[in-house]
């Protein structure tokens, strides 16, 4: 008896230890994923020191096999991507040179550490960010303005003057030149005579604003920044091309923080530059959030209506049971299959027919018959439909019978009871389904690759042009950016920083969307607390 008791208790201890350590394992795995992504992602934005590097030529050939890719006999300014470059363990060094005006933009070069004969962090070395997303490492000397020479320390003051000029340029382009341009194009289509007064007037106006623009641009070009490069040469950079200037080696912690935050802000608010190796990912962020929202808007009513039918109206027979099983199993279909379905059915069949209905005279246009945001969201809605149906059904079933009876007893019909009592009380269940749908929809990339999510889209799906929401357009998506980045970056070189930053952003997006949904659900739960706790 007693022996058996002890044996039982030992077994139980063993089970507890086993399951406990498994939970630990899961937590460790989860934390390390988050830690990796957050640390690598944030490091992408932190100020990295800039070095003056002298690479000795005479070492060439000693290191063997891939000596040909080593750059030799050069003095250069570079950002070193090995964070622990001083340590003896480091044998190879990744050097990221200026990308401004360079052909090999973005690609770091690899150098054996033994080749580096001199390494220094000059205080006056500046990182100058350009408006096109590239950057220049150089020592600023002075600033040339139309009036006089100014010291490089007045960069920010002069930048503000330039900013005003830039705004004027944009204003002329947007408010005057492009409407005139459209007007002229329209006139040409209508075959207005070149001698017609309206045409002449438009041409004159165009010429006026065009020359005004040229003047402004010339004024802008008279501002320039003179810098000296690593090999002693001097270079003049148009100030209009610069975006920021910052001294990485001299910066104190506050300046670094300021730069860090402004880089993060740039990342989420700016459009990609330099073939998505620089600049921000705003269009991808926008596309991801918009796709998830559209998906939610589509999946919620569909799922809720289907669940209402299944839970409230469908008879209790074997057909309905089979439907219910099919719905649950639909959640297990691989997402790539949904992608194929979306492409084959929505894009080619539905979209193609829509096109031939809307534009019957043109056989070659593909507006809806091409992958785009609408079909992507709809396919994702289909993909997440099962979870919404299942949780809504559960929510509907949890509504107490006595409340339905109470409603009927006051003269309500079945429809009124569902609308006024059952559905409101099932909202926590519906929200649970929506949360799961958002979590799945925001993280899913595979089907989107076929349905219009692209690495780079020129236009946002929402803009100022009628009809403002262009659901037929292709769109950018953080997941696609990550997928693409994983193939085109070397992990060792730290070039994957942008990819990790995009991963982090995607996590944040999922987290934020979920938090909003969970908050709504909790508010609803509190309203009906008696039935939930």
């Amino acid at each position: 008896m007693i022996k058996a008791f002890w044996a039982d208790q030992e077994k139980e201890h063993f089970a507890i230890i086993l399951s406990g350590s498994l939970v630990c394992l899961v937590i460790i795995a989860l934390l390390s994923i988050v830690a990796l992504i957050v640390s690598r992602g944030l490091a992408h934005f932190w100020v990295q020191p800039a070095y003056f590097v002298n690479i000795n030529e005479s070492v060439q050939g000693q290191t063997g096999s891939n000596a040909e890719q080593f750059l030799v006999g050069r003095k250069q300014y570079a950002i070193i991507q090995n964070r622990d470059v001083a340590s003896d363990k480091v044998k190879r060094v990744w050097l990221q040179e200026s990308t401004y005006m360079e052909a090999n933009s973005g690609k770091p070069t690899v150098v054996e550490k033994s080749q580096i004969t001199y390494l220094d962090k000059p205080e006056r070395l500046a990182k100058i960010g350009m408006t096109d997303g590239s950057f220049l490492l150089a020592i600023p000397k002075q600033i040339q303005t139309p009036a006089s020479m100014a010291s490089a320390s007045e960069f920010h003051v002069i930048q503000e003057q330039i900013e005003q000029l830039r705004e004027q340029v944009v204003e002329i382009q947007v408010q005057h030149l492009s409407p005139l341009h459209e007007l002229l194009a329209e006139m040409r289509i209508r075959e207005v005579e070149a001698t017609a007064p309206a045409y002449i007037k438009a041409v004159q106006a165009y010429q006026h604003w065009d020359s005004r623009l040229t003047e402004l641009q010339q004024a802008l070009s008279r501002y320039s920044l003179v810098v000296s490069l690593a090999d002693g040469r001097e270079m003049s950079v148009p100030l209009a091309d610069t975006h920021y200037m910052q001294y990485p080696n001299a910066a104190n912690i506050f300046e670094k923080l300021y730069y860090f935050i402004s880089q993060i802000w740039l990342f989420v608010s700016d459009s990609p530059k330099q073939a998505i190796t620089a600049g921000g990912v705003f269009p991808a962020l926008f596309g991801t959030v918009l796709m998830v929202m559209l998906m939610t808007i589509m999946v919620t009513p569909l799922g809720v209506l289907a669940a209402i039918y299944l839970a409230e109206y469908a008879p209790n027979n074997s057909v309905v049971s089979i439907i219910r099983i099919a719905v649950s199993n639909l959640a297990g279909v691989p997402s790539i299959v949904y992608g194929v379905f979306g492409l084959g059915f929505f894009v080619y069949t539905v979209g193609g027919h829509l096109d031939s209905l809307i534009f019957p005279e043109k056989s070659d246009v593909a507006v809806f018959g091409a992958p785009g945001l609408l079909w992507a969201s709809l396919t994702m809605a289909l993909l997440t439909l099962p979870v919404v149906i299942v949780s809504t059904e559960e929510g509907l079933r949890r509504v107490p019978r006595t409340l339905r009876q109470g409603s009927y007893a006051l003269g309500a019909t079945k429809f009124e009871t569902i609308r006024l009592i059952v559905l409101p009380m099932a909202t926590p269940g519906i929200m649970t389904g929506v949360i799961l749908a958002i979590a799945r929809g925001a993280g899913e990339v595979a089907p989107l690759l076929m349905l219009g999510a692209v690495k780079f889209a020129l236009l946002l799906p929402i803009d100022a042009e009628f009809p403002y929401i262009h659901l037929e357009r292709q769109f950018m998506h953080l997941g696609v950016l990550i997928y693409d980045g994983a193939f085109h970056s070397q992990f060792g070189g730290g070039e994957a920083g942008l990819m990790f930053a995009a991963c982090m952003l995607l996590l944040v997006v999922v987290l934020v969307l979920n938090t909003i949904a969970v908050r709504i659900r909790n508010r609803l739960r509190n309203q009906y607390q008696i039935f939930n706790g």
């Binding site: 009876q405 007893a409 006051l410 003269g411 019909t413 009906y528 607390q529």
Partner: protein, 270 residues
């Protein structure tokens, strides 16, 4: 109190009721759940503006019987009914009967209070909103009157727009009564309305029933024989789906005609 303990007036015998004094006439009502016969050919006449108690051991079919009066049994798919229930000169099982309208005339209160998870106010006006009434002043009036009738007004008048779920169980039960009264029903059915309540709340509800008797036909199902004796004018004793005895309360409790009734009342079973 005294009036409750010993009725000062005696009620007319059931068989001497005039046609105009009958609220519900039940003729040979039989009810089946699937194959199972739950009610066996019940015939009874429930007098107008009086309190009728239905007693009997649990599972004998009390709830099922009153569920026939507002056709709430319709919700069970396997339920089959034979016979007639006549309310207002019409058989309510007639296929042309407007069931929601019937249910506004025959109010029902259940064993456990079931307020909707909305404000006190919205609970009371629920039935009216269903009917499409949305005039604010009218609704305000109805709420006040119904809550006064249900003896709840003084307790909730300052918190009309708080969630009904914040009320105590006893208050919730009176709210549910007010909700039914708001529709001005002709008949009010209470299915063991006090079995989930404490003694004080029970007393309040019994007093309330006493006040309602002049305006409504009240049917109360109860487990509690003292309660039946205290509040009702007539009492029906149901046993295994059969109506064993139905008479004025005095007769049932003092001179029961049937052996089974006497056995039940004296506590030999049930």
């Amino acid at each position: 109190m005294d009036a409750l303990d010993s009725p000062l007036f005696t009620v007319p015998k059931l068989n001497s009721l005039a046609k105009s004094d009958i609220a519900i006439e039940v003729n040979d009502l039989a009810l089946y759940f699937g194959q199972r016969k739950v009610l066996h050919e019940i015939s009874m006449r429930i007098p107008k503006n009086k309190v009728t108690a239905i007693i009997g051991p649990s599972g004998c079919g009390k709830s099922t019987l009153i569920g026939c009066f507002n056709r709430l049994n319709d919700l069970h798919q396997d339920c089959r009914i034979e016979g007639q229930v006549i309310i207002g000169e019409r058989n309510i099982f007639h296929h042309k009967q407007n069931v929601p309208e019937l249910r506004t005339k025959v109010g029902m209160v259940f064993q456990r209070p079931n307020p909707f998870p909305v404000s006190v106010y919205e609970n009371v006006v629920y039935g009216l909103r269903i009917k499409g009434i949305s005039d604010r002043r009218l609704l305000d009036n109805v709420v006040e009157n119904a809550l006064i009738k249900a003896a709840l007004w003084d307790e909730v008048k300052d918190n009309l727009f708080d969630s009904a779920l914040l009320l105590s169980t006893g208050q919730q039960q009176r709210l549910v009564i007010a909700r039914a009264l708001a529709l001005e029903p002709e008949i009010l059915i209470l299915d063991e309305p006090t079995s989930a309540l404490d003694p004080i709340s029970t007393l309040l509800i019994e007093e309330l029933i006493n006040d309602l008797r002049s305006q409504f036909t009240v049917i109360i199902v109860t487990h509690n024989l003292q309660q039946a004796a205290r509040v009702s004018d007539y009492t029906a004793f149901l046993h295994q789906g059969e109506l064993i005895e139905y008479s004025d309360t005095d007769t049932i409790f003092t001179l029961p005609a049937q052996q089974q009734t006497e056995a039940y009342i004296t506590g030999r079973y049930g």
